[in-house]
């Protein structure tokens, strides 16, 4: 299995949509073949269309507010003592997380295809919140599928979705988290694909959704590359990019522009959710060697039992609480371009405390996983190493959990 240079990773799948010949694909009911093919044709055409790119960039700039900041975390750097620690504050984006890029692109595509309704899944509630924002902006009706357990633990985002006029549909099946929300959303699409567009909230699902999402979030690394060159005059000789990985949309977007660099120069570190330290359950299929299986239309490493039943996950962060992982990351793992590890719930919470103590930055529980590993590793790295962590979400949505786990002093009221 080999990563090709000079070709975007999202376009490196074969004609059946398999990366490396075995990850991804289209394991979908017959009914979805046609709408997926239609979306493929539309996307392949539009991504080469200068007018469409211009339109996308216009909304990215004026509405999402790109570029998001790249900041040096000077206090944290001196506290840790080692590599220079920087953060790309993607949570600056309109709505407070990277999910806005994919949501915006899907709404633009839905408009072009004449669909009036858009549906989406959500875990942490960010994908849903952003889709509801974008749908409102582009005049589309919006339905969001969300696990009942997630609705309870991510109330601020649920309120935001409702405020934007979206129907939030609670999903009570299975573990009542993201995996069930995605299943239910796909089921709704099976029954309504003639009138409705579907947005999959991460780089998962049938191949076309993996590609659209990866293409959308790549905005992050386009900005980062320019910002690094602006800061250092070049892409640093020793650069390490840390990102949390649930489905894998923010990390893929954070890395994409650096794909062709030697990994000795630009290393990618993906941090999965290890779950509670005392629990055997986790959401880290790459770190803990899960087997390849089929989930939500794609072949991927996925937590499952011997029979092929998908296993329940456990993580403090709803956004990482997913048993599978993007086919793109399976591909990056097996080609050894990226390295994957996990942080536990407790480690993520501790990292959140450290970051908020030293810096004016409030990463949500998802990027706190990445901060945890980055802080640990930065200690041992030379001063000329540049560590960048994608702070892809804001902790406002986690205020209930943080208050419960850490006490009121860690929660700001806005």
């Amino acid at each position: 299995m080999k990563l090709k240079k000079g070709i975007p990773v999202i376009d490196q799948g074969n004609k059946f949509g398999f990366w490396g010949g075995k990850f991804g694909g289209n394991f979908v009911p017959e009914t979805l073949k046609k709408p997926i093919e239609d979306l493929e044709i539309l996307f392949n055409k539009l991504k080469k269309d200068k007018k469409f790119i211009k339109e996308r960039d216009k909304y990215f700039k004026n509405w999402i507010g790109v570029p998001t900041r790249l900041i040096k975390l000077s206090n944290l750097t001196s506290h840790v003592g080692g590599a220079q620690i920087w953060s790309k504050v993607v949570s600056d984006a309109n709505g407070g997380a990277h999910k806005i890029y994919n949501a915006t692109v899907h709404c633009l595509l839905a408009k072009r295809s004449g669909k009036k309704v858009i549906i989406g899944d959500t875990g942490a509630g960010y994908a849903g919140k952003m889709l509801s924002m974008a749908a409102k902006k582009f005049g589309l009706k919006c339905k969001i599928f969300m696990g009942a357990k997630d609705i309870e633990r991510q109330q601020p985002n649920v309120r935001a979705m409702k405020k934007n006029g979206a129907d939030v549909i609670p999903v009570y099946s299975g573990s009542q988290t993201l995996v069930d929300a995605v299943s239910e959303c796909m089921r709704y699409w099976v029954a309504n694909c003639d009138t409705t567009a579907m947005c999959v909230g991460s780089t998962v699902g049938p191949a076309i959704f993996v590609r659209i999402c990866g293409w959308s979030t790549s905005q992050i690394s386009r900005e980062l590359k320019a910002q690094l060159i602006n800061e250092f005059g070049e892409v640093p000789k020793k650069l390490k990019l840390y990102n949390c990985v649930g489905g894998g949309s923010s990390s893929f977007g954070f890395w994409n522009e650096f794909m062709d660099y030697d990994k000795k120069q630009v290393e990618f570190i993906g941090v999965e959710a290890g779950g509670p330290a005392k629990s055997k359950r986790h959401a880290a299929p790459l770190t803990y060697g899960s087997k390849i299986g089929i989930l939500h239309g794609a072949a991927q490493y996925v937590n499952q039992n011997n029979d092929g039943q998908i296993e329940e996950t456990e993580s403090i962060s709803a956004g990482l609480d997913y048993p599978g992982i993007s086919p793109l990351h399976c591909f990056l793992k097996d080609t050894k371009r990226a390295r994957y590890t996990a942080a536990s719930d407790e480690e993520a919470l501790k990292a959140y405390q450290i970051v908020t103590k030293y810096e004016n930055l409030r990463p949500s529980l998802e990027p706190s996983h990445a901060f945890s590993v980055a802080i640990k590793e930065a200690k041992k790295l030379s001063k000329d190493t540049i560590v960048v962590i994608n702070s892809c979400g804001d902790a406002y949505k986690d205020k209930n959990i943080l208050e419960k786990k850490l006490g009121k002093q860690y929660v700001k009221s806005n």
């Binding site: 029954a191 499952q304 029979d307 092929g308």
Partner: protein, 266 residues
Amino acid sequence: MSNPIRQAFQNLKRERRTALLTYTVAGDSSNKQSLEILKSISNYADILEVGVPHNTPVADGGQIQTSAYRAIQNGVKMNDVFKIVKNFKKSKYSKPVILMGYYNMIYQYGENNFLKNCKKSGVNGLIVVDLPWPENKIFSKKCKQSSINFIQLISPTTSKKRLKSIIKDSHDMIYYISMLSTTGGKLKVSPRKILINYNKIKKIDPKKNCVIGFGITEKTISKFKNTDGLVVGSQICKEITRSLNNRQNPVINVSKMVRKLRKKIS
């Protein structure tokens, strides 16, 4: 010997009858009970679809999800599914049995190993919901080599070009999904429209046996009398749930229902 599925359709045609296909989930609500249900309904049904329960089904509605959930809770494993079929076939050797499920279950078992066990236990056909054409080409060939019918699915969204290719690559039986819906949805398309699509399929190759599923219930079944076959699934699963909730015997209640369904298309 010809495949029992083909044989069943030939017999039905001679008798000018429409095939009744039932769908129940293996292991719902226990291995023993699901076997008893199969034995009992096989007196009225012509072909038995046996669902392999899976916990992330992307095409099943509430009723079948509930049945599958019950079966998984009861600990049913792939090997139990084979055992149920094997035991059923001991007494009803010629009654065709089709396993229906999602590809991950086959993938984890290993395609070849899966087919070997299908053959050993007496499975005659397979419906794999999330392995569409052309992705299923290699596996469907393997099925043929093992004398197992791979049943292609066709839906209202299937394009003309695909339709022809799928029919060409199909074996003895084709499954037409009546409407855009998960299983268990209310019939939201007029029977007339469904029959127009059905006839399109038959016109391309009249020799293929085409059954219609999704939205087929006691209420709607008689409207499709003159087709090759009809599948009832969710309504049966719902009846099992209802019986269990009312502390009644699902075997008796489901049999009654299937007998009624049989009468409506006889």
